[in-house]
């Protein structure tokens, strides 16, 4: 069991190198499909100097065009930064192109600069998110409705009856309540008190008359970005700087007080390795242990602009020595 995740950070990449990374992400998704991956995950952030993927539905569409059965997850889609009419239309076109294989985890986002970029009020983002989710749900129903007093009808109707699956992701009680209120499944970020999130989620769902959906909060120290190598020391030397870039960028975004949310407080590759947390470089035996513990091996092959050749050598090893021997 594995999943692959792509966020397309590529610090300092030349135009050719960046286009190579995009090609590799698509080919690696096809590889993941061949090897029975549960999903490919793509995510959204804006105005990141390392080129973080700003338009995940666009990459998801390219992946969908080169695969036939692989489920694709857009997580998170920062729906509050989008016009919900345009987003619903894009989801519908992608629903057709993928034949119903793309689902979404909606996230609020936490970087004011992203809200500024789209002229949205950061302080008002919760209220706007409520409005956007309601409009998305109405738009994906295939029926006409009103949004901000304007007549809206998203055409064509979606491939998936009722529209593609939406869930909501976040780490706060407010996020759990919002998911419950709109009848969405909830995907928690690492939390100190998952039980409190779950009870908030269930209560909000019941109050709004929804059957509670799926609720999942991964435990705080679980592996989320794994690289599999023959030799772990050498693997940290080769892959570590790329993983560290990823960890440090998230760290910058959430601020020094929220290291738990960022997933790491490391400032060196050695510190990242010592954390033995979200970021792991393991040998095939270690990969099998992660599968045994977590049920799935979360691969992040192009993390921090990892050169495709280096990433492929890790994936080849996974195919040869992890997936065959289990």
């Amino acid at each position: 069991m594995l999943l692959v995740r792509f966020d397309m950070r590529s610090p300092g990449a030349s135009p050719e190198a960046r286009a190579d990374l995009y090609r590799a992400a698509i080919e690696m998704s096809a590889w993941a499909e061949e090897h029975g991956a549960v999903t490919a995950v793509v995510s959204e952030h804006h105005a990141s100097p390392d080129g973080y993927l700003p338009a995940p539905l666009i990459l998801a569409s390219a992946i969908a065009a080169r695969t036939t059965s692989l489920p694709i997850t857009v997580g998170a889609v920062l729906a509050g930064l989008h016009d919900p009419v345009a987003l619903a239309e894009q989801m519908v076109v992608l629903d057709h192109i993928s034949r119903g294989r793309v689902s979404y985890t909606i996230g609020l986002g936490y970087r004011p600069v992203e809200y500024e970029m789209f002229g949205r009020d950061f302080a008002d983002r919760g209220r706007r998110m409520d409005e956007v989710i309601a409009a998305l749900q109405a738009g994906l129903s295939g029926e006409p409705f009103e949004y901000q007093g304007r007549p809206v009808h998203v055409t064509p109707a979606p491939y998936t009856p009722g529209g593609p699956m939406l869930s909501y992701g976040g780490g706060s009680l407010a996020a759990a309540r919002r998911a419950g209120r709109f009848g969405l499944g909830f995907l928690g970020q690492g939390s100190d008190d998952p039980a409190a999130l779950e009870s908030a989620y269930r209560m909000a769902a019941e109050e709004a008359g929804h059957q509670p959906g799926f609720f999942y909060v991964p435990s705080a120290g679980s592996a989320t970005a794994v690289v599999v190598v023959e030799d772990v020391d050498r693997g940290w030397a080769e892959h570590g700087p790329h993983l560290l870039h990823d960890a440090q960028m998230y760290g910058t975004w959430v601020g020094p007080d929220d290291a738990a949310e960022a997933g790491s407080a490391a400032t060196t590759v050695a510190e990242l390795r010592a954390e033995n947390g979200n970021y792991r470089v393991v040998d095939p035996e270690g990969a099998r242990e992660i599968i045994a513990d977590q049920g799935v091996l979360p691969l992040f092959p192009l993390a921090g602009g990892t050169p495709p050749d280096l990433a492929w050598s890790s994936l080849d090893l996974v195919a040869r020595e992890v997936l065959t021997d289990g």
Partner: protein
Amino acid sequence: MRAGIYLDGRNPEPWAEPWPDFYARQIELVVEAERLGADSVWLSEHHLFDDGYLPQPLVLAAALAARTERIRLGTAVLLGPLWNPARLAEELALVDNLSRGRLMVGLGAGYSRPEFDLYGADPSTRYGQTDALVRELRRLLGPDGPITPPSVQRPPELWLGYQGPQGARRAGLLGAPLLSTNPTSLDPYRAALREAGHGDQAARMAGVVTVVVADDPDQAFERVLPHALHQINTYRAAAAAGTGRTPSPVTADKLRTARHDHTTVLSPLEVLTPDQTVAWLWTKVQGLPVEEVFCWASVGGMPHDLVQRHLELWLGEVRPAIGDW
């Protein structure tokens, strides 16, 4: 002169194919067009059409980028006033990366009132907004632009889909290539290019040609006719909606008459043999700086056998014959 195809995502009743098959077929059609030598595929944007008209061409463009190697991917056109410039620039940059620099961006001002209402956009300043969008995209996606990741082409080629002489003047002032083959546009376009210091040589045109190529044009014409009527009349209805005007529908007889009337500039539908198509194209483009023409792969959901033959003849016979124009 280059030759491309044009897709609109229309799947109209009563000829609609099952939606689950529709987009897979659109992608296969473009893969086949590339194999047959097409230089480009252009995608259109419209909203609120009952036939499912493609509302988000860049999502389809990304899928096409992943399934093709060489063919250029164009928009003809994106409706400028409906887009947030930063969002659009990001999505264009992504498609340009996925296609390794094969993107061409055609922008238009839009004309259907309900589409403006759908996005809360102001139709009264739509040309000004679209001109401003061109300048903003040049900045955002230019060599020093802030968009991350940057596009491969900095910026991608930005075309203006302005049809009349006023629009041609705007395109000329912006020094932009013009997505129109309207001969009455050339003089104002060139004059504006000169006025803005770009020079006559900067004049570049491309555009849609409303032709279906067939072995037996008379028979094919009658089969395409109901589809062409759907296409033309739904465009007219969209243009009139919300204006208080009543659209004047085109009838089958009108199209039959127009077919042999070469005095009209923009014929609504021509169904021709490859030789006739080449001759007809010459009358349309001679004396104009037209570097590329493209035709609907399918007019209003026309029968698959006609689509297939149309593409074989357009790309296999017409394209080679016009290549050195």
